[in-house]
Amino acid sequence: MLKKSRFNYVAKGVDGYLIYNNLYNSLSRMSDDEYVQYKALNFQSEDLQSQFEQQGFLVDEDVNEIGVFNAYSKLKSQRMNPVPSITVTPTMECNARCFYCYEDGVRHGRMKKEYAERIVDFIKTLDASRGVFITWFGGEPLMNQEWMDYFADLLRAEEIKFSAFMISNGSKINENVVKKMKEDWNISSIQITFDGDCDEYVKRKNYMDQDESVFLQMIQRIKMLSDGGISVQIRLNIDKKNVESILSLVKRLQQLFYSSEKISYYPAFLTGNADFLTEREKVDVIKAIMAVDENKFHINNYLYKPPKVSACYYNQKNAFSIDVSGNVFICERALGHNEKAVGNLNQNFDFAFKERELSGLRPECQNCPFLPKCHGGCKASYEGNDIPCYIDKYIIKAYLESI
């Protein structure tokens, strides 16, 4: 006897039905008649049934798929040995006043110089023989470039190889900064958030030190980064009230950067405020963005993604975030919240070697076909009563409905 795989997701596409399996990454198009047969598990030909089996859409009734997936996740996460990943916050200060910032109300301030030495001491206790991955975060990290220079020089002096990523609002970028990003801070990729086109962007970022020309300057900065060889991931923060403006922005970006392989974007749905989008609206917004520019979505990255064996850095050994008080966290969303720290740079570093629990796996995840794509999603969102699901499922749903 056969049963449907618990990882199947079926959508009505523009020409028939699409069936995608989130564990086996298989995708097929069914005619209306084939869909009826699949739905009833009653196939008119052995050949058709065999195709469903080969694609993993049908499995033997006594196969325990979730058991194998759990074993795969556990063993793979044990055997993976990623380089240490350290998120540092040169400053928790920021020149933007985004209403949705999850760091709102936490302690602001700048990283002390001596913490650079302590972070290097900390890294030395981890296995950094293959290097270390640094995420420059904040606040707005570029508001304390002096500390970034000092820390990067220190890593080099200690012969600790590092590569880096930056999360920034981008407002402090100029030609000189792009040069330093590449040559001094080893940044190959940066995430910059956009909250809409022109006026909406200016209104939502609410900068303390930028005038209304900031939006056009930001477009120039993206070009500057891309020309400088740095990949730019544009995060589109979306809620009910800025959908139209986001679509206008995407049209603009498509016209300006269509041929640039260094620029990509992805939607991020704002939660925790009254204007959040429903699950259905999220899919529809992505479909609308795809209709303007599918090219920059890199859909294959989602469809071919191997099963996620852990949700995020929270579950990854050797991954830590450090704030300006020297507090160490295993979740970057906890930065600035002293009570959530697992340790402090002023202590010994025993806390670094504690085994980590799996995050996010809620009872409803056990029945979700998208589980292999997110492994439970964001624990911090879940604990804050927000929707923890990652973007993958919305993008896959939107794509299947669009083809």
């Binding site: 086996y24 298989s26 469903f52 499995v59 055997r79 469809l303």
Partner: protein, 50 residues
Amino acid sequence: MDTIISANDLVGLVSEVGKGSSPEVCEKKVGDMIESQIVKEKETQNAQKV
């Protein structure tokens, strides 16, 4: 039915080890597959370096 993307290697593994295997056998076979994946990934990385 039109195949757009063919299933990955996991489809064979799950049907083989998920059916009536004891948890120990299941873990052993999954572990072997992961080892071979890791070897393949390293080979690909080395080839890219060359």
